[in-house]
């Protein structure tokens, strides 16, 4: 059974039909890269998967739960799915450690001491064990993004959704973030990434989903699809990106 199952999902922004019947299944442990031009609906699809965005038709089942924007449901979902954003969205008034400890203590009622241990653990994992007491603005973009990943990991999600998480970073900082993702992938974490990092999609990803005009236009094994695209749209897209 798949961990995430998207069935014939449609979404409108007013008159704009942004998702036109998406079907997608993601198995546990899979690394799926969603690629496509801006406006193709890839970010919207990702945001539908954890209830940040509503959809008008179809169904999304994540870890056995129906995804909706209902606050109670989103709260339940947050135990299974984490999300990392392009703009990090760390809480600037809290230290790195507090950023990470907040959700486990509030939502999972983890004790302070345990949450602290957990925070230290996930920070080590992203290579920032020494930043516990720092405020986010003292960190570089790449470090902030890794803290954001650590913050998500502290909730022990089964799926991590990454929405163009390297797009706002200086080129020399992208590598560190991707390395963390690679390590997570190697540990078996299910990753769904909206990304422009084609090399990463090919080398680390299992599968590529190419979205075009609100539809899954082409999909398949990452290496195969990227090396030998079948549709002219994907061929053109890859040509433009690489």
């Amino acid at each position: 059974m798949s961990l995430v199952s998207v069935r014939d999902v449609h979404k409108y922004f007013g008159d704009l039909h942004v998702l036109k019947g998406i079907d997608l299944d993601i198995k546990a442990g899979e690394v799926v890269s969603i690629i496509g031009r801006s406006g193709s609906g890839k970010s919207t699809l990702l945001r539908c998967m954890n209830g940040l965005e509503s959809y008008d038709q179809g169904a999304i089942i994540l870890d056995g739960m129906e995804v909706s924007t209902d606050e109670f449901q989103v709260r339940k979902l947050s135990q299974s799915v984490g999300m990392v954003f392009q703009s990090f969205n760390l809480f600037p008034h809290l230290t790195v450690g507090e950023n990470i400890m907040l959700a486990p203590t509030l939502i999972k009622k983890t004790s302070k001491a345990e949450a602290k241990k957990l925070a230290q653990e996930v920070l080590e994992k992203v290579g920032l064990g020494d930043k516990f007491g720092q405020y986010p603005e003292k960190l570089s973009g790449g470090q902030q993004q890794r803290v954001a990943i650590a913050r998500s990991l502290a909730m022990k999600p089964k799926v991590l959704l990454c929405d163009e998480i390297t797009s706002a970073l200086d080129p020399e900082l992208v590598g560190d973030v991707l390395k963390v993702l690679e390590q997570l992938a190697a540990e078996g974490m299910t990753l769904v990434l909206v990304t422009h990092e084609m090399n990463f999609a090919r080398d680390v990803g299992d599968r590529v989903v190419f979205m075009h005009q609100g539809k899954v236009h082409e999909t398949g094994d990452a290496k195969t699809v990227l090396a030998d695209p079948q549709t002219p749209e994907l061929r053109q897209f890859i040509g433009a990106v690489l």
């Binding site: 606050e71 947050s78 984490g82 809480f91 600037p92 939502i107 405020y135």
Partner: protein, 219 residues
């Protein structure tokens, strides 16, 4: 006719200034309480509450404070509710301040990036937790300088209470002028006292703005 020395004038003005200060404090405290309530109504997601506060704010921002004072003083009187000038002034200034303060505070809450809400939501925080732990602590910091800045408007606004006969600084100035026929001297002193009350506040506002901007990002 008795003779007023400069010291007599100043002394009487200073005594009256106590009422200006008291009225300002009351208006600020009352305005903060009502304003806080309005702010929470305004940032709730309930349409009727939002509309009520919108109309309230439009009314109090869209009419002169003087009219609000007249209505509080004479209007309530016509309805058979006997209000003193003091009560009317305190009431009108409270309502007036609350409209402006809540608008300032709503702006502060809404100025926070949408990503803060989204990140909180993704972590499983509910509305109240997001408010309590993420939004309000940040909004509060942004809100302090404009709030202190607005308190200057309140202090100056209390001058209008003189027109309904409340003896505060301005009214005392008018009375002393009637007795001494020295408008320049009297009103210069009045102005000076207002300035001494307001200047520290506007400086404090500027100071806080700089301080919270620089250090604010840190903590």
């Amino acid at each position: 006719m008795s003779q007023f020395t400069d010291w007599d004038i100043l002394r009487n003005l200073l005594l009256a200034a106590r009422w200006t200060i008291l009225l300002s404090l009351l208006a600020f405290a009352g305005g903060s309480i009502v304003g806080l309530l309005l702010t929470f109504m305004r940032i709730s997601r309930r349409k009727p509450l939002i509309w009520v506060t919108r109309i309230y704010i439009e009314i109090f921002q869209g009419t002169p404070l003087l009219m609000q004072l007249f209505i509080a003083f004479f209007g309530l009187g016509l309805l058979g509710i006997d209000v003193s000038a003091w009560t009317a002034a305190a009431l009108a200034l409270t309502l007036f301040s609350s409209a402006f303060l809540s608008d300032i505070w709503r702006g502060c809450v809404e100025s926070l990036p949408k990503g803060q809400w989204e990140a909180s939501r993704c972590l499983g925080l509910n509305y109240l937790q997001t408010m309590r732990y993420i939004i309000l602590p940040q909004a509060l910091r942004i809100a302090i300088p404009p709030t202190v800045g607005f308190s200057v408007q309140i202090v100056k606004g209390t001058a209008l209470a003189s027109i309904i006969g409340f003896v505060e600084l301005t009214k005392a100035g008018t009375m002393l002028n009637n007795a001494t026929f020295e408008p320049f001297k009297v009103f210069a002193m009045v102005a000076l006292i207002y300035f001494l009350l307001c200047y520290p506040l506007s400086r404090a506002s500027q100071y806080l703005e700089e301080k919270l901007n620089v250090a604010g990002k840190r903590a």
